[in-house]
Symmetry: C3
Subunit: 120 residues, 3 copies
Amino acid sequence: MILADSNVLVDLTTDDPQDQTAVLRWLREVASVNPQNEMEVVLYGRGLALVVSGRSAMADEVTQAAGRPHVSFKVCEIAMRNQKVDKSQLLPNVATVPDGIGEIVARQKEGWGYIKAIAH
Amino acid sequence: MILADSNVLVDLTTDDPQDQTAVLRWLREVASVNPQNEMEVVLYGRGLALVVSGRSAMADEVTQAAGRPHVSFKVCEIAMRNQKVDKSQLLPNVATVPDGIGEIVARQKEGWGYIKAIAH
Amino acid sequence: MILADSNVLVDLTTDDPQDQTAVLRWLREVASVNPQNEMEVVLYGRGLALVVSGRSAMADEVTQAAGRPHVSFKVCEIAMRNQKVDKSQLLPNVATVPDGIGEIVARQKEGWGYIKAIAH
């Protein structure tokens, strides 16, 4: 199924290693099937653990994935304030959005597909 | 990101305290960013535990949240029958819908954003 | 709420028995309320455990559900390759799709409602 214009929003709110591994695998697999589609991972709540330097168990994989074209990682700034995480602590290539849920809803309105990341 | 017309449907099917806490926090945070947007929590399966009097560990928070403008809690009546929960057992301000999944699908068709509530 | 044209896509990525039981129950309940609506379960990651012969703890229920009109089970072929599962190992009436996430995003674009299957 080669689909044009099938952008994918992934919603990650857990810090389970199986969920984290699954998200990184999905990014590779979607890119292999539909290399022109946009993929965006929105992280809030416990999801932040994946992208905070010194806390992430998959820092290299995240930095590499976030540096690829058509892939973005966006961290909720409300969650960052709640958890006292500063932008300087985020892994390279990881961006922020003012409001993670607002970002997700906005993407859905734009026609992006939504995938909740749970694998455990 | 101040978005107009970005209504949010939250789907809760677990009774994990972390998920319950996250839902109540998200309701406050969405309201603080987008106070005019509608937020609706649909509860079915184990999700019912949050809104049943005597079972909920967060009864006061739910009653308060459900009493705010633009927030509604809607319990699936099929799940209530399966679990022998009567409407009289629901916390104040909590409403019901005939079919939780039907409600979720209908809201998505109306353009609401969908968020699956998992934080554990 | 009797809705016409409210097709439901269920996304299953776990092998938790509570999640599996919930999916099979939802299929029955949606059919009882909206018998003309299409329901499709997309399985990838650990979700495959439900539909692989010899591994599934609910083989009879799946075969029966997948044989009903308006119900389909679709397994991600990428996940099958990753897990070395052959089509011959799938339960009767279970189909495959080249790419599970692509299938989910395509259905959302067609207007199907999306439900993430988590109940544990």
